[in-house]
Symmetry: C2
Subunit: 148 residues, 2 copies
């Protein structure tokens, strides 16, 4: 299964999040080339400020695999992770991170605190950015334009 | 109720975490001078890398109050928050943060990425550090010494 398909699934999850009125970000957790968790942002629905797409799939995968560490797992997410999600990715020992759009305002990988480059980050995933970035950006742009 | 009592409760939660074999950190979420959530670290028990004490009490308080934002709430935690917890504190719009021991290795408030001072942090709580710090440090020291 080509990697683009995993990001396609993450993009679908972002679109489903938009339909629920949530900031449209989607994430997919892959283990041994199989999706084991896919979800979108649900902070409003769950009344949970931590319910970003990445946190939801990491928690579900850890539950399924019965471990707080996911060293063989790769994460696909449509937007650059924030500091909360970047640290969770590090704690979970995620192997590879693929993300779409860059987030100048709130990102913590290429922007902001650049957590994976900090001395207090004790595991950094291999990171690949800009994957189908334009599609993910467009979903976010459309969502915020509709709310104005 | 003097503020020291809230930190005393957080310290009790840290001690309970140690008894469960978890890294001993405890947190208490206070709303209108009443504790609405208190818990300790449960990452091993729950197989959840995000189950830090702060995240658990924020999630529970948000559930109880029916809102992803907790603007009237104060958080007491025995150890300086990591980037995951610092960002969750910011997203939840926590009013005041009181913490005990400083965490040179993994903290994100006075150490590391100093998230609340970064331009990508859009809400920073009033922060008070060093509250009963020696007690919290000693619980951590004893825990790690016993594991060696």
């Amino acid at each position: 299964m080509p990697k683009a398909s995993f990001m396609d699934t993450a993009i679908c999850e972002a679109e489903l999040a938009a339909e629920r009125g949530e900031v449209p970000v989607g994430a997919v957790l892959v283990n041994e080339n199989r999706i084991i968790a896919a979800d979108g942002n649900r902070t409003l629905e769950l009344n949970d400020p931590t319910a970003h797409a990445e946190i939801l799939v990491i928690r579900r995968a850890a539950e399924i695999l019965g471990s707080e560490r996911l060293p063989g797992c790769d994460l696909y997410v449509t937007l650059e992770p924030c500091p909360m999600c970047a640290a969770a990715i590090s704690f979970a020992r995620i192997r590879r991170l693929y993300f779409g759009a860059s987030d100048v305002k709130s990102g913590a990988v290429e922007n902001g605190v650049r957590y994976f480059n900090d001395a207090t980050c004790h595991h950094a995933p291999e990171t690949y950015s800009g994957i189908q970035a334009e599609t993910s950006s467009e979903i976010l742009r459309r969502f915020f334009a509709a709310r104005r």
